[in-house]
């Protein structure tokens, strides 16, 4: 019995060292796949989207071995800080507050943020106009921070995923939702569920409110400066060789 236990332990130790050795070579990159068209699971169960293709292109250009996988939004940034993940790509907005705990690559996109509501709801997008209205947002996002500080008299309901607020809009529990304009259009308005809804209010960017940050970037552990450098190198390469334009064109037709 003892001998069996001993050999079992030995195998386990060998197996453990093998997996850590592999982990050191492959980069674990997490994404919250509830955010079409940026990151989502398609009908075949595959992880796809703008960010996924961009990350794959960056990895290829910088000659990095990347393993991109779906992870829960609420554990992503803490997981990166604790070293569970090497990087995150999830339309992460660069903000002052996040810069204090994690590092970012160069900014690869500057999103526009926009409210969405039922067609003909004729909402007045001002703090007074939205008093008592229900705004659904994904918790801990720049949109959450924005409505929390700018629309204190509105009722704000918060969800763990990027997709739940749309269910609430169609159910009529929420009057408005705010998100990335491209996500609203491609993930919701263009689908059957979104046919009775429309974009409302002004196009918002980091210039309108500091909560919207500077743009979106790949998040990397603060201690891993080498990775920031190689990711930036990869980003520069795909910007130059037209790969980034090709991905942009594929998803947004620009």
């Amino acid at each position: 019995m003892k001998a069996i236990l001993k050999s079992l332990c030995a195998t386990m130790i060998v197996a453990a060292t093998l997996t850590t050795a592999q982990a050191a070579e492959t980069l674990d990159i997490a994404t919250d796949a509830t955010f079409p068209p940026f990151e989502y699971i398609d009908s075949e169960g595959k992880l796809v989207g703008y960010d996924i293709e961009l990350m794959q292109a960056v990895c290829e250009a910088a000659q990095l071995d990347c393993n991109i996988f779906n992870a829960a939004w609420d554990g992503m940034i803490p997981g990166l800080i604790d070293g569970k993940y090497d990087a995150l790509i999830s339309q992460l907005t660069v903000t002052e507050k996040r810069r204090q705990v994690i590092a970012f690559s160069d900014i690869y996109d500057r999103p526009i943020f926009r409210f969405v509501a039922k067609k003909g709801a004729a909402l007045d997008i001002t703090p007074e106009g939205l008093a008592g209205k229900t705004i659904a947002v994904q918790t801990g996002t720049p949109m959450d921070a924005y409505v929390t500080s700018h629309y204190p008299t509105a009722t704000i309901t918060r969800y763990d995923t990027g997709s739940a607020p749309y269910l609430e809009l169609t159910a009529g529990r929420a009057d408005l939702h705010i998100s990335y304009q491209a996500q609203v259009i491609h993930g919701f308005l263009n689908s059957d569920a979104g046919k009775d809804f429309e974009l409302v209010g002004p196009q918002l960017t980091g210039a309108d409110a500091k909560e919207f940050g500077e743009g979106v970037a790949i998040a990397i552990n603060k201690k891993n400066e080498a990775l920031v450098e190689s990711v930036n190198k990869g980003l520069a390469i795909i910007r130059e060789n037209g790969k980034l334009d090709a991905i942009n064109a594929k998803y947004f037709g620009q």
Binding site: D74, T139, G140, A171, G172
Partner: protein, 230 residues
């Protein structure tokens, strides 16, 4: 370690604990009132009723509570017919959806626990009650219900603890109870250990109070079963 964040958010935790307690107490109280008569029907003479109750408890014990909650909260909302119905003002409220689901779920478990207790009442006790000429009502209130409840106490105590902890699922449909508070702090301050340890401490305290109360009740009302157990 970043306990300052927790200290800052203590009022939020207090609100969360209050909601946790409210959800647990209301669900358990309503389900108790429903489960006692259902336990009788579950053991009743009419097969159709017996199987109907069994069908209900099978469905609600056979599916995860989270799935039930999503079906009630998100699933029902998908149907235009329901959104246009008189129930919608109720069903559009997360609180009503959560309580409805919790009550249906814990009633299913409690019914089976009580029904099991009822089956374990010695035949002699019932025969004695009949021999005294007790009416069926008197039999139920003096012999069957007390006998059933005291025999079910240990199992029912577990069910109450499980229900208390299951209230954590309410956070998935926007209710900011204890777990919801912890998750919100995680998402806004990027720490995980401190908020969840604080939430765990709150649940542990609530459970401790519940268990202590249960021991008192057990000693007071189920004492007569002690010698048989020991």
């Amino acid at each position: 370690m970043n306990w300052d964040v927790i200290a800052e958010n203590l009022p939020l935790y207090a609100e969360g604990a209050k909601l946790t307690l409210l959800l647990a107490v209301v669900s358990l109280a309503l389900s108790f009132v429903l489960a006692v008569p259902l336990a009788f029907l579950r053991n009743g003479r009419v097969p159709a009723v017996r199987y109907a109750v069994l069908g209900y408890t099978l469905v609600f014990r056979g599916t995860p509570l989270l799935v039930q909650l999503f079906l009630v909260y998100f699933g029902l909302a998908q149907f235009e017919l329901i959104r246009a119905s008189v129930f919608w003002p109720w069903l559009s409220s997360p609180m009503v959806c959560v309580l409805l689901t919790f009550v249906l779920n814990t009633t299913a478990y409690s019914t089976e626990i009580f029904a099991g207790g009822l089956r374990h009442i010695p035949v002699g006790e019932i025969e004695a009650a009949r021999a005294y000429g007790m009416s069926r009502r008197a039999q139920a209130f003096r012999i069957l219900i007390p006998g059933m409840l005291t025999r079910s106490l240990p199992l029912y105590g577990n069910e109450m603890i499980m229900m208390l902890h299951a209230t954590a699922l309410a956070s998935t449909v926007t209710l900011l109870e204890t777990t919801g508070v912890a998750r919100r702090i995680t998402l806004n301050y990027y720490i995980q250990f401190e908020p969840y340890v604080t939430a765990a401490a709150i649940y542990l305290t609530l459970t401790f109070v519940l268990v202590s109360g249960f021991q008192l009740i057990q000693r007071r009302w189920a004492g007569y079963l002690e010698s048989r157990i020991g």
